[in-house]
């Protein structure tokens, strides 16, 4: 446990440069400055490690870095996505609070690999404490000569800036993030072109999640194989899981991939006294909900969760016990997406409002018999038809809630009240 991003967690002033360096921090970066590592070596190690993007989509990080036109004669950028707005996730916040230097070093390494001399960390608007921690760490790194131009007399330069967002979930979507960083309204761009070709200010850009970057230094220090061996097939290494909801001790846990769900539940102190597990959303609000049985039989890795019928997403495990009204839970989620849709594309702009209004009407006791079919129909018309994945994210829970807990919806429509809460 706590071997990578949370390596310094138990130590005094875990966020300080001193602590980070005492634990081997910046050794990889210094090796790079001495010219002892090549971009290709780094990419190979990352590929071996099996590290997959921790922002939700799980795209192999080594492969992503290899897509950048590193020799193109233009300014290139690395961008860290610390917008962390997915309901259920709070891991990046704690990396920034307790180990900001791992993010800085990870981004620096990335900048070297992709020949990008400038980087930005886009931090969620509400994250004031993490923002100041990160700014503090940046200052330490600059003062120590770890950031800036021609570092250590080498030809390597890297300037890194922190940017505070303004509290829009959609700005976590990588291209909306770039728009926002450019000072525009945060709205996703259509793809192609991809950021690796046309990204920030129209230049080649790589965007990774905070945890992805924070994992890189330790992987390179210990070797890709070491990291791969921590995890399981297809899911290398360890991963931060944010366990929240109806558990006794909600927290972030950095554990090996493939750990059984029930062990993770145990670590979080288990379900509250006298209650039973009802449902689990394993990867953040955008991933399908699972029944207790499916969850208890699942292992926490990409394939394991997929086999159980959901997705690992950002590793945000939302636990619901038997007091949960699933109609209410879905209505709350639908409201979130309705509220956070950027509004530019038709199916999401119109569909999220439609879904929410139908659910709200059911909650108000005015449900109609064909509302379930209507909800299924509407979510089906959103999926796959939008510019960005927020549309899919809004639609997916609807299908899984209705599939796994249909009788609760039918009850609510028929009786005008909750089957659980009365």
């Amino acid at each position: 446990m706590n071997e990578v991003c949370f390596k310094t967690l138990d130590q005094k002033k875990s966020w300080s440069l001193k602590t980070y360096e005492a634990n081997g921090g910046y050794s990889v970066w210094r090796k790079i400055l001495k010219g002892e590592l090549t971009p290709d070596q780094i990419i190979d190690e990352l590929k071996t490690s099996g590290l997959r993007g921790r922002g939700g989509a799980g795209f192999p990080t080594g492969l992503k870095w290899s897509f950048m036109p590193r020799n193109a004669d233009v300014q290139k950028y690395v961008v860290c996505n610390s917008d962390e707005g997915e309901p259920g996730t709070c891991k990046d916040r704690d990396i920034l609070r307790y180990n900001p230097h791992s993010v800085i070093e990870g981004m620096a390494i990335g900048s070297f690999v992709m020949n990008a001399t400038k980087g930005y960390n886009y931090i969620r608007g509400e994250f004031m404490e993490p923002f100041y921690r990160f700014e503090g760490a940046l200052k330490e790194a600059y003062d120590a000569g770890l950031l800036g131009e021609n570092l250590d007399g080498s030809s390597v330069s890297f300037d890194l800036y922190a940017h505070l967002g303004a509290g829009a979930y959609i700005c976590g979507e990588e291209t909306a993030l770039l728009e926002s960083l450019e000072g525009k309204k945060g709205q996703p761009r259509f793809k192609p072109p991809f950021p690796a070709n046309i990204g920030l200010f129209g230049m080649p850009t790589t965007i990774n999640n905070t945890e992805s970057f924070a994992s890189v230094p330790e992987i390179l220090a210990q070797g890709g194989q070491w990291f791969a061996d921590i995890g399981v097939e297809n899911s290398g290494g360890c991963k931060l899981f944010s366990v929240t909801g109806h558990v006794n001790e909600p927290a972030n846990f950095e554990v090996p991939m493939g750990i059984p769900f029930k062990d993770l539940l145990e670590m979080a102190g288990g379900i509250r006294e006298g209650r039973t597990l009802k449902a689990v959303i394993p990867g953040g609000s955008s991933t399908p909900v699972l029944t207790a049985d499916a969850a208890m039989a699942m292992t926490m890795d990409y394939d394991g969760i997929e086999k159980a019928g959901s997705m690992l997403g950002a590793g945000s495990v939302i636990i619901m016990d038997d007091t949960t009204c699933m109609v209410e839970a879905l209505t709350r989620l639908a409201h979130f997406y309705y509220d956070e849709s950027c509004g530019q594309c038709t199916p999401c702009r119109e569909g999220t409002g439609w879904l929410y209004r139908v659910l709200k009407r059911i909650m108000d006791g005015n449900g109609k018999a064909d509302d379930i079919d209507l909800l299924l129909g509407v979510q089906d018309k959103i999926i796959g038809n939008t510019i960005c994945a927020l549309g899919d994210a809004a639609a997916m829970p609807v299908e899984s809630f209705l599939r796994n807990f249909r009788q609760e919806f039918e009850y609510y429509i028929e009786h005008g009240k909750s089957m659980v809460k009365g």
Binding site: F190, S341, C342, G343, T346, R349, G353, W354, K381, I387
Partner: protein, 752 residues
């Protein structure tokens, strides 16, 4: 780009790699529904209406933003594609008011059309519909934002084409609203194009509001005559009246856009101030008479005043620059047949002793490819909107633009070097530029340049023109107010020759190119307009002249024309108090879109048009009036059946190119210099009578701008009247200079 082959709906199609799919389907006439895509705007892919099935892609792909690749197999009509298209249509309609019968876009609505093909009859949406509050965005565009489908075409139009981002999306999700950012309403001179790009009834024409349905109207091709481009338009007519004007595509002229002036000026046609009946002045009183009476009166008048006494050199003809090519031709032909060379259309030029002679030798489309432009004396954006549009495109592609003006103007692209200098300093500046150019090419300096001073600014202006790449020098309309206009033009010719720059002469607007082509200028021994007015001629034929606006020396002109003894025949389409004072006969002529004829644009392109509506009441097309007048005067060679025969006579006659003096005189007058311009929506009688145009901010431009120092010398304070317009004190004006923009409400007008 590489040629590739793709398969669309089972049909093999050739295309270029990287093209967007929708460009291919459009070319092949395969219909793919769309709302946000517009061929002249950037792609935004937000409406999702164009989703099609691409084999191998897990999700449906938007045709507007999917670059094609070799071997791609696309289905635009299969079940997957149809399902997506229907889904999007349903979403678009849930919050759209389905009251097409009361919507102004009804019958020409892209949403309505596509809904017929892709919508379903029953809506499953039973929640309340969204209602969006409207804001008043000015006199030209009516908003009904509840109908907006958020396609952002209007937003992109503003940002990309108009160059002023006036509409924008605020709020997010369902609350996203398309609205103007500014409370003062829409300001762009191209704003009406937003009506054309809006696929639904959210943005419609305000003057046209609730008038008619599109299918009730006839749409006829025509040409707008307000500027040097001759934008291609459709006049939409109903029961013999022009009801609306929309753009007609022509990539060589206006692409797919038109200026607000071209779009909304038609309103003036129905103005109550139209001159509708022939009138003759008998013992100082105006009398409405039949055409034959009036024409007879006119011929007899000409006879008595000049012809019978063999004094045809005492006859003059003047025309405003809105006449058609054929009208210019017939009037000059009448004069020359009668033996007079006193013919002129350059009413607004200050000094005709040495007129501006400068070729335009660049195509409008090529303006886009310029690397550099030097603009002299022009607020191109408002004066020649579609020329400016091309320059803006060049600028967006990286061209630099330098400016020499008497006042700072609001260009909608970035200016590299903005030089604000008084008119009497322009000639010295250009001489400096020529000097630097010649020196850099190690050429001998002509005498007049040896003592010319240069400085860093002048050197930079010259270096820009000398640099690699294509450049153009633009001479603008303000130069006609300059005493050194001819020298300025000759310097430009020289600089252009030395720097291999193109030149563009925007000094005369409207249909002036047609006047030149038809030879509507004084011939050998003839008088120019200023000389005619000085020499108290005995008779005039005036073609659509409004002296208060058209003459540079308007006060002098009105005085001169009012002198006793001159017999004046006026052909006008609008009534005018001064015209009524000095004329003896007033002949009502048809206006824009009521007559056939031709416009000649800056490229020399002759664009002919037929009448879209017939002339109202007793008015007649001027070319017919002139032909009958010629017949009554028993002149030979006027047997035309239609105006096209006149056109072909003009195009077949040989045109002698005029020999101009190439003198360059660097001496200038000291003292305060005045630039007197009609404001952009007061350039001709039709625009001046277009009420909605006049109500816009551009239409209201009516001021004499001067800086503090100049105001002090003139003993003016803010708001005082100067040459009939209110003074504005502003440091944006060059010292010792007054820049006048006069609109239709101007009191006195012109300079003495």
């Amino acid at each position: 780009m590489a040629k590739i082959e793709i398969e669309i709906d089972g049909k093999l199609v050739n295309a270029r790699a990287g093209e967007m799919l929708i460009a291919v389907t459009d070319r092949e006439s395969i219909s793919v529904p769309r709302f946000c895509y517009h061929k002249k705007l950037s792609i935004s892919a937000n409406c999702r209406m164009c989703l099609v099935d691409v084999e191998g892609a897990p999700k449906p792909q938007p045709a507007c933003s999917t670059p094609i690749a070799d071997g791609m197999k696309i289905h635009t009509q299969n079940e997957k594609a149809k399902a997506s298209q229907k889904a999007v249509m349903e979403f678009l309609l849930i919050n759209h008011p389905l009251d097409c019968p009361i919507c102004d876009q009804g019958g020409e609505c892209e949403l309505q059309d596509v809904a017929m093909d892709y919508g379903s009859d029953v809506s499953r949406f039973t929640e309340g519909k969204r209602i969006v509050a409207d804001s008043d965005i000015g006199a030209l565009i009516q908003t009904d934002m509840t109908r907006c489908i958020h396609c952002t075409r209007c937003v992109r139009f503003g940002a990309e084409i108009a160059g002023i981002m006036e509409m924008g999306g605020t709020g997010r999700g369902e609350d996203m609203k398309i609205e103007p950012f500014l409370t003062e309403g829409i300001q762009s001179e191209l704003s009406g194009n937003m009506i054309d790009v809006c696929p639904v009834g959210a943005l419609t024409s305000k003057p046209f509001r609730y008038e008619l349905r599109s299918w009730q109207m006839n749409s006829m091709s025509n040409i707008a005559r307000h500027d040097l481009v001759g934008s291609n338009i459709y006049t939409q007519t109903y029961k013999g009246k022009v009801k609306r004007i929309v753009a007609r595509d022509n990539d060589d002229t206006n692409e797919t856009w038109i200026s607000d002036r071209d779009r909304f000026s038609y309103e003036g046609l129905a103005h109550e101030n139209r001159l509708l009946a022939p009138q003759i002045k008998v013992e100082g009183e105006w009398k409405e008479v039949e055409w034959n009476v009036a024409l007879d009166f006119a011929t007899r008048g000409l006879g008595n005043s000049v012809l019978n006494n063999h004094q045809s050199d005492q006859l003059g003809a003047l025309a405003s620059n809105t006449a058609t090519l054929e009208e210019f031709h017939l009037l000059q032909k009448i004069l020359r047949e009668l033996g007079s060379e006193n013919i002129d259309h350059r009413l607004n030029v200050k000094n005709l002793n040495s007129p501006i002679a400068l070729d335009s030798n660049v195509k409008l489309v090529n303006l886009e490819n310029m690397d550099h432009a030097l603009i002299i004396g022009s607020y191109t954006r408002l004066e020649q909107p579609m020329v400016n549009h091309r320059l803006r495109k060049a600028s967006l592609k990286g061209a630099t633009v330098d400016v020499i003006n008497a006042m700072e103007f609001d260009f909608n692209y970035s200016i590299n070097s903005e030089n604000i200098i008084a008119p009497n300093k322009v000639v010295a500046t250009l001489a400096g530029v020529l000097k630097v150019v010649l020196e850099s090419k190690q050429q001998e300096l002509p005498d007049y340049l040896t003592s010319v001073k240069t400085d860093d600014v002048i050197t930079e202006l010259a270096e820009k023109l000398l640099a690699e790449g294509q450049s153009v020098i633009v001479l603008g309309e303000h130069v006609i107010n300059n005493d050194s206009a001819a020298s300025i033009a000759n310097l430009i010719t020289n600089i252009a020759k030395q720097t291999k720059s193109s030149t563009l002469n925007l000094s005369a607007s409207g249909n002036s190119m047609a006047a030149n082509l038809s030879g509507f200028v004084p011939g050998k021994g003839g008088l120019d307009v200023n000389a005619m007015l000085e020499s108290e001629l005995k008779a005039y034929i005036l073609l659509d002249v409004y002296p208060h606006y058209d003459f540079h020396h308007s006060i002098k002109a009105i005085d001169a024309l009012n002198k006793d003894g001159a017999f004046i025949i006026s052909l006008n389409s609008f009534k005018d108090k001064d015209v009524a004072n000095y004329s003896d006969v007033m002949l009502p002529i048809s206006c824009f879109y009521e007559t056939s004829g031709s416009h000649v644009n800056i490229e020399g392109e002759i664009q002919s048009f037929t009448a879209s509506v017939s002339a109202p009441s007793d008015t007649k097309p001027a070319w017919k009036v002139l032909k009958v007048l010629a017949d009554l005067l028993e002149l030979p060679g006027f047997h035309y059946a239609d105006s096209a025969q006149v056109t072909s006579e003009i195009t077949h006659q040989s045109h002698k190119s005029h020999v101009h003096d190439e003198n360059i005189d660097l001496t200038t007058k000291q003292g305060i210099q005045i630039i007197w311009q009609k404001s952009p929506y007061a350039v001709d009688a039709l625009s001046r009578h277009a009420i909605s145009l006049q109500a816009t901010k551009i239409g209201q431009m009516n001021s004499a701008s001067m800086n503090k120092a100049t105001a002090k010398k003139l003993e003016m304070t803010q708001g005082d009247e100067y040459l009939g317009v209110p003074a504005i004190i502003s440091e944006t004006v060059a010292n010792n200079c007054v820049f006048v923009n006069a609109n239709r409400s101007t009191q006195a007008g012109g300079q003495s």
